[in-house]
Symmetry: C2
Subunit: 336 residues, 2 copies
C-alpha cells in the first residue's frame, strides 16, 4: 500500500493552510474563488481523496449503511431477499453511501453486530429479523434503523411492509371469478404475522363471494413443505380445483406434487403463487402470482432510513408497498 496523499500535502503544495484546503474542497465559504480553484486543481492533479477514517472521526458520520439479514433465511440464495437487496443496493449506490452486509444468527442472545457497536455505520436496514431482544438493544443504543417485512410485529418501529392481505384477496378472488369454488391454501407458519395476513386475505375473498371457509382446505406448517401440503389437498375426497400458495416457493413445490400425482396444471388443477420471484415466469407452466415490488421495498427502506439518520425527531411512518396480480398460465379460466 503506497502512502496516500493527505490534505497536509495539498496544503504544502498550494502554499496554504490545511483549513483553507478543507474549505476549498468542501465548498465552505470564507475563501476567494481564485484560491479555491487553485487548490482544487492541485488536489485533482495529485489525486487527493480525503481519508474516510479521518472524516468519520471528525464528522461522526461514516457514510456507511448496514444491511442485516438473518443467516437462517439464506438471504443471498433466496430470490425474494435478493431482490430486496438489489433495491437496497441501488438506492445506497445512488446516494454514494457504502453498503455493509451482515448476516446474523437468530438466537435470542444475539448481540448487536460489531459494525454497529464500533460505529462503522450510520444506520441499518433489517430484513426478516424476528428477534425482539435484538430490536430492543438497538433502540437502547440509539442506532437509527428500519425494518423490512418484519416477521414479528414491532408496531412502534419504523418499517416497510407488504400489502399481504390484499395480495391473497386478489389471488383468491381471481380464482373464484374464473369459476373455482373449491380453493385450497398452502403455505408457512401461522406464527409468522405476514403469513397470517396472507391467510386472512384468502378468507376475506371467500367471504366476499359467500363461499364458506373450510379449515380442511388450508395446509400450513413449514415454509418448504409445499410438496406434502399439496399431496394432502389432492388426497381429499372432494379435492380443490385450485390452490393459492402463500409463497411462490410453495407453489413450485406444489407443481412437483401435482406432476408426481399424474395431474396437469392448469387443466386438472390451477395454482396461484405469491411474491413473483424469477422462477415464477420460468416455471412450466409460467406461474400466475401476486407480484411484490421487492426492489421498491428495499429502496423505500433506504430512503426512510436516510431521513431517520439526518433528522433529530423522526416521524414514524409505515409505507405499505402495494401488490399486483400477474396473470400467466397456471390458472384454468372459465369459458364465459
Amino acid at each position: 500500500m503506497k502512502s496516500p496523499v493527505t490534505i497536509k500535502d495539498i496544503a504544502k503544495l498550494a502554499n496554504v493552510a490545511q483549513s483553507t484546503v478543507s474549505k476549498a474542497l468542501n465548498n465552505r465559504p470564507g475563501i476567494s474563488a481564485r484560491t479555491r480553484q487553485h487548490i482544487i486543481s492541485i488536489a485533482k492533479a495529485h489525486n487527493f481523496v480525503p481519508d474516510a477514517a479521518g472524516k468519520a472521526l471528525k464528522n461522526r458520520f461514516t457514510n456507511n449503511i448496514g444491511v442485516v439479514f438473518c443467516r437462517e433465511d439464506y438471504p443471498l440464495r433466496n430470490p425474494f431477499f435478493s431482490r430486496i437487496l438489489e433495491g437496497i443496493e441501488s438506492e445506497i449506490a445512488f446516494n454514494h453511501y457504502n453498503l455493509v452486509l451482515q448476516l446474523i444468527p437468530n438466537h435470542e442472545e444475539t448481540t448487536i453486530p460489531k459494525m454497529i457497536r464500533e460505529r462503522q455505520v450510520d444506520g441499518i436496514v433489517l430484513i426478516g429479523v424476528r428477534n425482539k431482544a435484538f430490536i430492543e438493544q438497538l433502540q437502547q443504543a440509539g442506532t437509527p434503523f428500519i425494518l423490512i417485512d418484519p416477521r414479528d410485529y414491532f408496531p412502534d418501529c419504523p418499517q416497510v411492509v407488504i400489502d399481504n392481505e390484499n395480495g391473497t384477496f386478489l389471488a383468491t378472488d381471481y380464482l373464484i371469478r374464473n369459476g373455482h369454488r373449491k380453493v385450497g391454501f398452502i403455505g408457512g407458519d401461522l406464527a409468522v404475522p405476514s403469513f397470517a395476513e396472507r391467510l386472512n386475505g384468502y378468507k376475506k375473498a371467500l367471504a366476499f363471494h359467500n363461499i364458506p371457509y373450510s379449515r380442511r382446505l388450508v395446509k400450513t406448517g413449514g415454509f418448504e413443505e409445499g410438496y406434502t401440503q399439496t399431496q394432502q389437498l389432492l388426497k381429499l375426497s372432494k379435492r380443490p380445483s385450485a390452490i393459492v400458495a402463500a409463497y411462490d416457493i410453495s407453489a413450485l413445490h406444489a407443481y412437483r406434487a401435482i406432476n408426481d400425482a399424474g395431474m396437469r396444471i392448469p387443466e386438472d388443477i390451477s395454482v396461484v403463487g405469491f411474491d413473483d420471484i424469477d422462477l415464477a415466469k420460468m416455471a412450466i407452466p409460467a406461474l400466475t402470482t401476486v407480484r411484490v415490488y421487492k426492489e421498491q421495498m428495499g429502496s423505500v427502506a433506504v430512503r426512510q432510513l436516510r431521513t431517520l439518520i439526518h433528522t433529530e425527531t423522526p416521524v414514524s411512518f409505515t409505507p405499505i408497498i402495494p401488490v399486483k396480480l400477474v396473470e400467466r398460465d397456471s390458472v384454468k379460466k372459465s369459458e364465459d
Copy 2:
C-alpha cells in the same frame, strides 16, 4: 444517537491513563495483571467498544473487505454469483471482518470505487470483472485485491479460477460413455475465456473418444440464448442425441426449447449443464450437471486476500477449484 463511551471515559473511571487502558484492552505488555483485570471489568461494565474510525485512523487498517461485482451481471439475483457471495460472506464473518458490497458498471472508463480511494477497505475481492483499465488502476494504487473467475486473463494477478476444461471434459465423456455419439454444445461468448475453456474441454473429450469435432454442433452467442441455440440444434438433419450446456441457465433454456418442440428429456434428448445452481436439482427432470464449488471459491479468495493484506511481498499463487460431475435424471443411459 447517544454519545458513546470512549477510552478517555474508561481511563477516568479506572483512575489510570488512556495508554494504560489501551494496553489492557489490547493485551499489550507493560502493566500488571491486576490493573489489566480492573480496567477490563470497568470497560465491560460500561459497554465500552473502541470506535472504528479512531482505530482505523491510527492503525491504517479498517477491518473491512470490499466485494466488487459487475452491475451488468446482476450478481445478486444470479444464483451462481450468490453462492460465491455466500462463501465470501462466511469467511469474512468468520474472521470478524466487515463486508462492503459494491457493484460497478463495466465501462472502460469506470474509476476505482470511492470505498477504495477513501481507504475504507483493506483489500477487495473482484468477481467477474473484465475491465483491464480498472485492474491496472488498482495495481497502481497498490490496493490488495484478488480476482474470482476472471472473464479476461490477467495472468499476473492473484486469482481463484474454476477447472473449466476438466468440467466439460467430464460432462462430454459421461455422455459418450453412455452411448451418445452426437453431442451438441451450447453456451455463451467465445470471447469470454472461461467459456472458451469449457468449449475446449468438450473438444478434448471428443478427441479422446476419436469422435470428430463438428462446428455445426456448437452454438455460441449470448449467455441467455440457450433457447434459440437449442432450436437450431434440433433443426439439424441429423440432430444430436445429447447437449452439453456451458451453463445451467443455458441448460434450462434448452429444457424449454425441447419441451416446446414436443420432445422429452431424457428419452428423446439428454442434457448436461455446468455450475450446479439450485435450480438444477429443482428442474423437471433434475439436471445432471458439473458442480462448481462456488462457496469454496469465495472463501478461498478471502483467505488469499487476507494473506495479501498482511504480507509485504506477496507470493502469487492461483488456486484452481476442482469440479465434479453430479448425476441426476437428464441423461439417457445406455443399457450395458
